[in-house]
């Protein structure tokens, strides 16, 4: 069963992920660095708990990073197209 509850303690890390992806796709290590740069020490476990929730809700998606074939994350169309603020707001409901 997939948990239908909200983000809980992962709302803030999820917000940081969305903010970090605002300017375009990020390879996962770089995403980790940027999220940490935004809000200090966030662990890998917390980051991926937020990433998995964001992916499940369709707010972010995976994209293959052309040259090295590594996977990157990016905002989905609706979020990237002006829905970022409402998406962030939704995290805390």
């Amino acid at each position: 069963m997939v948990d239908g509850r909200g983000f809980g303690r992962f709302a803030e890390p999820a917000r940081l992920v969305l903010v970090a992806l605002r300017d375009g796709p990020r390879q996962h290590v770089r995403l980790f660095d940027e999220v940490r740069a935004l809000d200090g020490p966030i662990g890998p476990g917390t980051l991926y708990a937020a990433v998995a929730r964001l992916e499940r809700l369709g707010l972010i998606e995976r994209a293959t990073n052309g040259n090295d074939g590594m996977r990157a994350y990016r905002l989905t169309g609706s979020v990237a197209g002006g829905g970022l603020a409402s998406a962030i707001e939704g995290l805390y409901r």
Partner: protein, 258 residues
């Protein structure tokens, strides 16, 4: 470090393990961050965000080869039991079952999996054909009879091994099937015959009825292999090559969408 990742549930690992391992390799976690990984694993188990993709239903035709192998094994067992315990010496019905088994065995084998087994097929086919050709050239003398027997043995073992391969049985299991189903009974018959010929001691009266019983393990092996093949499924040659789903191709579990 990878031990920590093993704390995560399988579907999560299928989707994120590779990049997660790379992340903690590039950014080695502090002791506190290791605790964070453990908490993350606990969260992933308590509140799973990734679930396994439901397997696609198997076409019924994929069970046909297994059912044919199963039928071949059943027919062979019935033939053996008919010869061994039937009224005899007229084994008409038993012989019919034997004929059915001999026909069904090779019919159950062709499939797209053979494409990856070209080398083995060439080896087995070459050994079979070469033995027959050599026996023919030698005019069916003693040496030729040995070669003919060898060709038969290669065919019998090869058919069972190929069926076991199609059933997805590992190499060790295939060897057990061939040794237990063919070679061991054969060695037993040869040993009993040799003892009788050299010492005159009759361990078992080797008649057609008793000899047939030694083929029972072969029939049982086909039954087991056929059952596994039917349960597991295997594309037939008329099935289009299976195209795995995108999730299966990437080896990733699916993230459920709300």
């Amino acid at each position: 470090m990878s031990r920590l990742v093993r704390l995560y549930p399988g579907p999560w690992r299928e989707r994120y393990e590779a990049e997660f391992l790379q992340l903690i390799e590039d950014r080695p976690p502090s002791p506190m961050e290791r605790l964070d990984i453990i908490r993350g694993a606990l969260d992933a188990r308590l509140h799973p965000q990734v679930v396994e993709a439901a397997p696609e239903p198997m076409p019924w035709t994929h069970r046909l080869p297994g059912l044919l192998s199963l039928s071949a094994g059943l027919a062979l067992c019935l033939a053996v039991l008919g010869i061994s315990f039937g009224p005899g010496p007229d084994w008409g019905a038993a012989a019919s079952f034997l004929g059915i088994a001999v026909i069904l065995m090779p019919i159950s084998l062709p499939g797209d999996y053979l494409g990856s087994q070209r080398r083995r097929l060439v080896l087995v086919g070459g050994a079979f054909g070469g033995s027959l050709a050599a026996a023919n050239v030698l005019g069916w003398g003693v040496a030729a009879q040995v070669l003919g027997t060898l060709a038969t043995l290669v065919a019998i073992c090869g058919l069972l091994a190929t069926a076991a391969l199609r059933a997805g049985i590992a190499p060790r299991g295939r060897w057990i099937a061939v040794v237990g189903g063919v070679l061991l009974p054969l060695i037993l018959v040869a040993g009993i015959t040799l003892v009788r010929e050299t010492t005159g001691v009759t361990i078992v009266d080797v008649t057609a009825s008793t000899t047939a019983l030694f083929a029972l393990p072969y029939g049982l092996a086909w039954l087991i292999v056929g059952l596994r093949m039917a349960v597991r499924g295997s594309p037939t040659i008329v099935d289009r090559p299976s195209v795995p789903s995108a999730a299966a191709r990437s080896g990733a579990a699916e993230v459920t969408q709300p």
